[in-house]
């Protein structure tokens, strides 16, 4: 069930109303588990079996890990704990390997074998990719790893645990929550809070606006340009790349806002996932602001596990690049995603960082008009990020390379720009999109010190409600135009 579907529009109020009628947290958790499985099973009921299996395996392993406390004096228990962790890793990564990467590995193996002059028999299996598998497997993995590291006590309550894994607002596309943060919330009673409810609704509204109005409007022109990069001119591909940067940002951060807002309706707080990433002044800062829940997951469970920055500089660099390569592969089972991750990793270690540390709450500084050097850094980082997005969006490595080549070689061709200007003047799709993006950019810049822009403390009620109604109007109007696209991150 998608957040932008009519089914969800009916599902959410029904679940919400029953939830707050139930006073006991045990019943509330049970309801959330049932609702989450209905939400997930809406795509395909078989997916629920997979999620339940993954959850039960980690629940059992978590309990076993909790029982086998290591004895540092006798040295016993360490081996058993390592074995249990290995089992958890094998189960979760095995699931991902089969359902997400099987085709990729087989294709890559066959391509490599063909290069070496050996032609293995064709092996193809039609395996459907369960929605959100990468998200919930990472969430359950963090549970067992944290228990292994002694940072978390396993829960004995299966319903609490299932609620933590399957909580529907963040089930299919994050934020990827840590058990140490989310699980205790299911173990505490929740109180109805009118303020939190209003805040949740506002954040949902902003998320819907970003997804339905901006991301879905950008999807058409982006898809048209990337569908045939050989026929599209360099300037058009350049514009399409910038549009894609905003499409994926509004799509994914929109999803996160809806998820965080929805969770707040149930009295649950989820972590912030985006913090105005396109106002970053370095690639490092970009990753502190983009998909925060995933980048911190990779930092804590891959980068630090590889040694982090404890070794020599070369080892630190290697650890960073490897982490980004794995992160690229997490995004999709294709070499272009690996290349995208690699490019980010290399630029992260190779490019200089600004001397001053930027606060997470003040991207681009506190001034209304940024200093020229800050502006220049933001533009450079955005350009670089856009260039890397080409690998993310193109249909293949060859297409991505072609897009880069065409942009580089045709950037000076006036004809390409003339075509775009004519389309703008003729009030084609570019006309509305340009205006929409300019307005969006200004709103984001002015609200960058807040978690989201739809928060107007001190504004008189008529003004606040007028803004809410205008946003809601746009969501309904654009949502009904019939060009809705599924959330991009569902495929991961």
């Amino acid at each position: 069930m998608s957040f932008t579907s009519v089914a969800f529009l009916v599902f959410l109020p029904v679940v919400w109303a029953i939830y707050w009628c139930l006073r006991r947290r045990e019943w509330q958790n049970l309801l959330l588990v049932c609702a989450s499985y209905v939400f997930y099973g809406w795509w395909d009921a078989r997916f629920c079996v997979l999620m339940l299996t993954s959850s039960l395996v980690d629940y059992g392993l978590g309990l076993a890990l909790g029982r086998s406390a290591p004895d540092s004096e006798t040295g016993t228990g360490f081996r058993r704990r390592r074995l249990l962790l290995a089992l958890s890793l094998a189960a979760n990564l095995g699931l991902l390997g089969v359902f997400k990467y099987f085709g990729f590995f087989v294709d890559s193996f066959q391509a490599a074998a063909t290069l070496l002059g050996w032609s293995p028999g064709a092996l193809t299996l039609e395996i459907i990719l369960p929605v959100g598998i990468s998200f919930y497997t990472f969430q359950t993995l963090s549970y067992t790893i944290d228990i292994y590291r002694g940072r978390l006590q396993p829960t004995r309550n299966l319903v609490d645990y299932l609620a933590f894994v399957s909580f529907f607002p963040q089930l299919v596309a994050g934020p990827i929550e840590r058990a140490s943060r989310l699980l205790p919330q299911f173990q505490q009673p929740r109180c109805w809070d009118r303020e939190a409810f209003g805040e949740g609704l506002r954040q949902m509204l902003w998320g819907l606006f970003k997804k339905v109005v901006i991301a879905d409007s950008l999807a058409g022109p982006v898809a048209a340009a990337f569908a045939s990069p050989e026929t599209a001119g360099g300037p058009r591909l350049m514009v399409a790349t910038v549009l894609f940067a905003y499409q994926i940002y509004c799509d994914f951060s929109g999803y996160s806002d809806i998820a965080i807002g929805t969770a707040r309706l149930f009295g649950i707080g989820l972590m912030r996932n985006f913090a105005y990433p396109y106002f970053s002044q370095s690639i490092v800062e970009f990753w502190q602001r983009w998909h925060i829940s995933l980048s911190t997951w990779f930092r804590d469970y891959v980068y630090i596990a590889l040694g982090g920055n404890r070794g020599r500089r070369m080892q630190t660099w290697r650890n960073a690049v490897v982490t980004f390569l794995v992160s690229g592969l997490w995004h999709g089972a294709a070499w272009r995603f690996v290349a995208w991750g690699g490019l980010h990793g290399v630029s992260l270690v190779a490019l200089p960082r600004p001397p001053e540390k930027v606060s997470i709450d003040h991207p681009g500084g506190t001034r209304l008009v940024p200093a020229p050097v800050v502006l220049l850094r933001m533009i450079l980082v955005f350009t670089l990020v856009c260039a890397f997005w080409v690998f993310f969006r193109a249909d293949s490595l060859a297409d991505a390379w072609l897009v880069w080549k065409k942009i580089a070689t045709e950037i000076h061709v006036a004809e390409g720009y003339r075509e775009l200007v004519l389309e703008y003047q003729g009030r084609g799709p570019l006309f509305g999109i340009t205006h929409l993006l300019v307005v969006f950019l200004v709103i984001e810049w002015l609200s960058r010190h807040k978690p989201h822009p739809v928060d107007f403390p001190g504004w008189p009620r008529p003004l606040r409600w007028s803004v809410y109604s205008a946003l809601a109007w746009f969501v309904i109007e654009y949502g009904g135009r019939g060009d809705a696209n599924p959330f991009i991150y569902f495929q991961f």
């Binding site: 009519v6 089914a7 009916v10 008189p460 009620r461 008529p462 003004l463 409600w465 007028s466 109604s469 205008a470 109007w473 746009f474 309904i476 109007e477 009904g480 135009r481």
Partner: protein
Amino acid sequence: MILKLRTTAEWLVTLAGVLLVLEACTRFFSTVPESVIERDEVIGVRFERSLDRHRYDAESDRVVRLQTNTQGFRDDEWDREKPDGVGRLVVFGDSFIAANALPRDQILVSRLEKLLNRRQGLRWEAMNFGVGGSSTGQQLVAYRKLASGYGPDAVLICFGTSSDVTDNSSELSSNPILRCRIAGDGQLETVGVTAAQRRSSQVLNRYSRFYDWQKHVVNRFVKQVRRGVQPLELRHRVYDAASGPRFQRAWELTARILEQFRAETSRDGVALLVVSIPASAQVYRDQFQRLREQAGSGSRMEEDYPDTRLAAVCRRAGIPYLSLLPVFRAAAPDRDSGLLSQRLFLKGKGHFNKTGHDLAAGAIDEWLARSKALPAVGR
């Protein structure tokens, strides 16, 4: 007390602000076309009278000039006095005949008039009484109250197989339109749009674009929810030969209305003719297959069922009848809505496109000439 008043005043200002913002958003950014329909307690629905407006039509994706006469129909001004040597053909129909998506000279009625007048020695005026959402019951009332006053020689009912049976029945459609029903004593009676409904909707329609927009949005939402519960739209049950008692009653009502129409036109010495307007699903197999899948097991979906049924009704009432289905299927031999070269409907599934209107007009003209169904007037 003062605090209470202040809070109430603040909420009233908020409400006014919200409504103003919504109205502004609709006026500046909405792609939902503004309504040009008037509800009328005499003849049900018609277009706004003496309209002359350029209007964006999403189905054809273009701006169309919409002009109506003083009676609120897409035609030239009609003269009460029929000129000598001229035959008048009144054409009734729904949105297929009103054809908001096309310029006036491209729609069925104008094309038919041209074709009829090509024949030597004959001069016909085809009067377009088509309006979106009209039922056969409304057409009967419009004949009595309005069309008969123009001294027609023939009346042609263009019966939309995709929606007219449901539109005729208040059990199957809740659209606020004028329709007929069979009263307790077995007589046909008219159920109209109430004066209050007419007045409130007329004022809001005229002054608020947002009012119009929200109707459109609510309808769309209700449709989507219904589709979630029952994938097959109710109106498509018209193809189900086992569709149950509500459709049987709708067919009986349709038959009664047509019989009444026939009786009243005969009394006036006017010829009555019926043509069935095919739906795209009847022409393109892929679309009908989808409907079949949506209907599920337990239904007997037949593409030709409404035409067969209507033919039987007309035969029983003694009304000359033409089904346009064979002509449309012959013009789309592959019966695949994906083939652009065989497209007869807008976007392959909506109302007729220009080719569809031409085809329908040609087929009706040929049928009229062949069957001599039109009275010999105007010589």
